[in-house]
């Protein structure tokens, strides 16, 4: 196996910075507003907390919610069956305009 096979090269995320707790005391509101990195706060090389911007947290939260929704849709027998049927309808051109459906129902 090559020396450079997957897993042999350490992965470094340049958007993450490991800093001492003392850095936290030096941060002011301007620093927090312009912070482009995620800070891992540590004491004696032990990670204690993670500091990231509010916007980044909201993005993470949305991503987690999206993931949960996806897992739910694909795991729920009822929803996954409906999802597959819907995709099959689209693939086979079985779609109709919503206004037309409403008009047809009102006629009946």
């Amino acid at each position: 196996m090559s020396r450079f096979a997957a897993g042999t090269i350490p992965r470094i995320d340049p958007s993450v910075e490991h800093v001492g707790v003392s850095r936290l005391r030096k941060l002011n509101s301007d620093d927090l507003k312009s912070m482009d990195k995620t800070l891992v706060l540590q004491e004696n090389d032990q990670p204690l907390a993670v500091l990231l911007t509010y916007e980044k947290f909201l993005i993470l939260q949305d991503q987690l919610d999206s993931l949960m929704k996806t897992i739910y849709v694909l795991s729920s027998p009822e929803e996954s069956a409906a999802f597959r049927a819907g995709i099959e309808d689209v693939t086979n051109g079985r779609t109709k305009d919503f206004n037309l459906i409403k008009a047809e129902l009102k006629k009946k």
């Binding site: 949305d62 991503q63 987690l64 919610d65 999206s66 993931l67 949960m68 929704k69 996806t70 897992i71 739910y72 849709v73 795991s75 009822e78 929803e79 409906a82 999802f83 049927a85 819907g86 995709i87 309808d89 689209v90 079985r94 779609t95 109709k96 305009d97 919503f98 206004n99 459906i101 129902l105």
Partner: protein, 143 residues
């Protein structure tokens, strides 16, 4: 969005919509305006005419990864799953469904799924023991 927003239904979605429409119409014809079927249909109409068109491609409603063009909109006890893209002023409703339980958080849903045993094989493949099921809770829904 410049072009008028269009909504199309798949045959699957149309069947559910027609069923909800007819059930609500029957209740209204019988003078039962407060029937949950009427409320359900009104929620569905409100979602299709106001809720979704106001912000159809909100990432909060998008599924993840390769399904990011699929959105799942929730309004009260109605779930509408549709296909769409920002470049196209048109969505295709894949299916409509009704939730059975109260709204719950995604975290609670995931906990329930883990506790239901759905992921036991995945845990086993990682050499992990399945979770303690003594704290099993009833099935929640995702909003």
């Amino acid at each position: 969005m410049n072009a008028p927003f269009q909504i199309q239904f798949t045959a699957t979605a149309e069947a559910t919509y027609s069923e909800f429409y007819k059930e609500a119409a029957n209740c209204l014809a019988a003078g039962d305006e407060r029937n949950p079927k009427v409320t359900l249909f009104r929620s569905l109409e409100e979602a299709l005419t106001k809720g979704i068109p106001s912000d159809p491609f909100n990432q909060k409603n998008a599924l993840s990864g390769s399904l990011s063009n699929v959105f799942r909109f929730s309004r009260e006890n109605v779930r509408i799953c549709y296909l769409g893209h920002e470049r196209d002023p048109r969505i295709i409703v894949l299916y409509i469904c009704q939730s059975r339980a109260e709204e719950s958080s995604s975290y609670a849903t995931f906990t329930w799924m883990v506790m239901s045993g759905k992921f036991d094989a995945a845990f086993a493949s990682l050499g992990l023991n399945p979770p303690d099921r003594r704290a099993l809770t009833p099935s929640p829904t995702v909003n």
